[in-house]
Point group: C2
Chain length 347, copies 2
DNA sequence: CTGTTAGCGCCTTCAG
DNA sequence: CTGAAGGCGCTAACAG
């Protein structure tokens, strides 16, 4: 493994000169610069990340805390991990994956050891112990999914209220008068998860605005319970002609139940999921509101990087006062290309 | 940020003593050990990863190279990333996510800078340039998915031949005589991807062994083309009563087409996917062979760790000779709990 | 415009 | 059983 010293020797200069060529933080004559760069190329030299980090106290690594539910993998987590990695690279950071099941231990370790410069916390819950831990450590952190609005850490989230309202409005605009909104699962609502609560708010708003018959029902994490509930809803009168769904975990089960009831999608029943993964070829079937994963990933990385700057640079430029944290609510959009079919017999 | 020196001062000992308490590589009297540990706890001390790495030349980090297809996210990649992270932690390693679209640049950087001790390459293709790059660097590497059998790097893969053969055998055993095997997409077969080729082999073997009418057809990456092909296959005579599917990317489209043809699953047509993601509640509908993600992840991390040991420790213990690399073919299993329905009118 | 040097925090010989 | 010292590779402050 070549070191900066080897390069210096080979180029006939001092080690610091090599360093300056690399960092560009000092004027270097064209000749020596070329000699140094030749030596670097010939030796295949790469600066040691550990030495840099030791000196500079910056690792250029972000840690991503992925939430885990034992025995239930959520596709959305993997998707975010990859998009956040891309976003981090675009800011010059690498991404370390924290998947511990044991809560906050791994985060403390990574923060304390200086392995990462900041943390991104995914799918934050109310009362999430990780928030307290990171705040206590004073470690730069950004949240994906808002805990509560004054969680005192920067956060990014899809505007779930607007998303559900938009889906319902568009469905009503297509002519549907009897719509069922299948909200988040009961346990998520009971836990007052942000997306669950705000989704319900959106449904209420849409009901007022459109005047349509919008029946709101919670989902359930158990596929069998959910199927039974869907069966009941489909049998209720007046029969719904559209189903707007926020609980996507069991969407295949839901569709299977619709098919079992002898209903065809979208001729007999329109199904509009809210918060699907983008670029999922297999899912490009239904009119829907996609989770803007790329946009959210970029935003959350930006906030994390800003948090690093605040912690490092002090209050030199126009940072917000300490204690005030930026946040971003992302606006929802209907996925392009598929329109919502009107109900049967609609003009 | 507390250092080892601060701890030493506070405990009234020398820095080296603290280090020994931490590493346990030397006998320390009970009293001083307790004093040191108290000081550590009080100061919230964590050893600096960068300093350790600089000294020891080991970062205790693995890098995972995630394959990218622009505009087409594959859920399986995210799933493996998370499971491999778990597996890495169980071996004392953290996992760095490499998601560059630009080929080998990121890998070279991470290897050269000593950010990681080894690399795991996901979904390796024939002639994958990353294999050559890592071999050239002499950097410890393990492959997930075999390139070709003498790719001269350790690898792990599901036994796709056995998996497809098993699915077809079980389907035939349930009484089905007319089965369609929907293989990988044409472009994957043309590229001679391992899973594609071996899947076809498995179909051939099963046809011989069972004597059933097994029609083999390639899939297509375009959902519309695929749907047309499925329609043709369902209309062919004698009508198939079972569909074994290796190409899962568009499974929802496939099921939608089956429903559009007026066929009910599984009453009119049995569908058996091969290589689904485990723990995917939404998918727990069909009889299937799951991708053993956890098992494969553990195996590939083990191989990566062994590769580090070989590179570091030299040939002290019973490592295989250089140039010979271990590999593991994982045996497939039918997912428990769901049985394959017999065809209509079967005794 | 370039060279010399000290030190980031840790581990591991050596000396006591 | 414990302490002192050197160096891992790099950068930035201080010379020239």
């Amino acid at each position: 493994m070549a070191t900066i010293k080897d390069v210096a020797e080979r180029a006939g200069v001092a080690p610091s000169t090599v360093s300056y060529v690399l960092s560009g933080s000092r004027k270097i004559s064209e000749d020596t610069r070329r000699a140094v760069q030749a030596a670097i190329a010939e030796l295949g030299y790469h600066p040691r990340a550990s030495a840099r980090t030791l000196r500079s106290a910056r690792s250029d690594v972000l840690a991503l805390a992925v939430p885990r539910v034992p025995g239930a993998y959520r596709a959305v987590d993997g998707r975010f991990a990859i998009d956040i990695s891309d976003a981090a690279r675009s800011h010059g950071y690498d991404l370390l994956l924290m998947t511990d099941l044991d809560g906050v231990g791994g985060l403390r370790r990574v923060a304390g050891s200086g392995l990462a410069d900041a943390t991104v916390l995914m799918a934050v819950e109310e009362q999430d112990p990780r928030i307290g831990a990171m705040r206590e450590l004073g470690f730069p952190t950004a949240l994906l999914g808002r805990g509560d609005d004054d969680s005192a850490l920067p956060w990014v989230d899809l505007d779930w209220e607007a998303a559900v309202a938009l889906a319902l409005r568009e469905t009503a605009a297509a002519g549907h008068r009897h719509i069922v909104f299948l909200a988040s699962a009961e346990h998520e609502i009971a836990a007052r998860r942000g997306y669950a609560v705000h989704g319900l708010d959106g449904a209420g708003r849409a009901a007022k605005e459109t005047g349509a018959d919008i029946r709101v029902h919670p989902s359930n994490g158990d596929p069998d319970v959910l199927r039974r509930r869907v069966r009941e809803l489909l049998g209720s009168r007046p029969a719904p002609t559209a189903l707007v769904v926020q609980h996507l975990h069991c969407l295949p089960h839901l569709l299977a139940e619709v098919a079992a009831a002898g209903l065809r999608v979208p001729e007999d029943l329109v199904v509009v999921p809210v918060g699907t993964l983008p670029d999922d070829l297999g899912g490009r079937i239904l009119p829907r509101i996609e989770l803007p994963v790329a946009e959210m990933s970029l935003a959350v990385v930006e906030l994390a990087v800003k948090a690093i700057a605040s912690a490092t640079g002090g209050r030199t430029d126009n940072h917000p006062a300490p204690g005030v944290h930026p946040h971003r609510l992302i606006a929802p959009q209907m996925a392009p290309g598929i329109t919502i079919e009107p109900p049967k017999g609609h003009p």
